[in-house]
Subunit: 151 residues, 2 copies
DNA sequence: ATATATTACTTTAGGCTTAAAGTAATATAT
DNA sequence: ATATATTACTTTAAGCCTAAAGTAATATAT
């Protein structure tokens, strides 16, 4: 053996590494397919999905809160989506600092296509688990949802 | 309901989002603590951990294969670690293209400290699961280890 | 009314990441 | 021996990400 942690700690490390690896593998598959088959990226997909869930549009700050990423990050992604004509910005007439972002018709059409593919990919990847197993997995992950803060 | 997927697909999507969120949350905690408490980053930690596992050192290409990241990526991280005196590069006397990278004494001391903290953090985060539960989680994740490739 | 604080957003600097192109050294085929 | 291919590594361009600083507009306190 290479270390001298308690058996429990070793097991915990193993489970975490497995969780990280599994999640990372699946995410890598999604990124790869979005790129190769759709010419887009996961962050772009996430922004478009957020806008799809909010058909009336979102302000930049709402978008960054919804996606839990920084404000500046959203600025960059929305800029690039706008350059490609997939989202539209409209100035708020009440507040000249603010703007509303929503999917353009083109962006909406494209997202419906992406979302369908995305769901198929996930469905396929998760296929090995039956209903009971995925319920169990959900329940176990639920217990890790709010990581303890102090050692 | 907001969509019209088969119930199974919806469940699969929910489980995947939960998996992604849980893994991301834990990773965020680790990044945060590495930064705030140790002034380092997860990629730097990963490189140092790889070198700790290979005391004789690794070549740049071996390092990038071990970590499953690109060659150029490793160049950047190792550059910064070397600037901080945490790793050492030694030219291969047989092959003038190649070099050996290993932890410096300073890097080794620092990594032992980081590794101990890291293990404590994981141990604490995984605390909610008892042995049986973590075994079950391992087994379920195992089934997702090699995502199906074709729809 | 005016000063102060807050809010909405962008810009900047720096690190992480990849793919692709570039450089130099080594290995192979003829 | 020489041409070709491969290998080891770095550089570059572009996107993603954050924290911190910056800008302009709005809200609040007095």
């Amino acid at each position: 053996m290479h270390n001298h942690y308690a058996a429990n700690t070793r097991q915990h490390l193993r489970v975490w590494l497995k969780l990280l690896k599994t999640s990372g593998n699946i995410e890598a598959v999604l990124r790869e397919r979005l790129k190769r088959e759709c010419g887009t990226t996961l962050p772009r997909f996430d922004v478009m999905a957020a806008l799809d869930h909010h058909p009336a549009g979102l302000r930049m700050t709402e978008l960054s809160e919804f996606l839990m990423v920084s404000n500046g990050n959203v600025t960059g992604i929305v800029n690039r989506l706008a350059e490609d004509g997939l989202v539209e910005r409209t100035q708020d007439s009440q507040d000249r600092r603010a703007q509303m972002v929503c999917l353009s018709p083109k962006g909406n059409t494209e997202f419906q296509h992406l979302a369908k593919l995305h769901a198929q990919w996930i469905d396929n990847i998760m296929q090995p688990l039956n209903v009971e197993q995925s319920d169990t997995l959900m329940a176990l992950l639920e217990q890790l949802t709010e990581p303890e803060v102090s050692p």
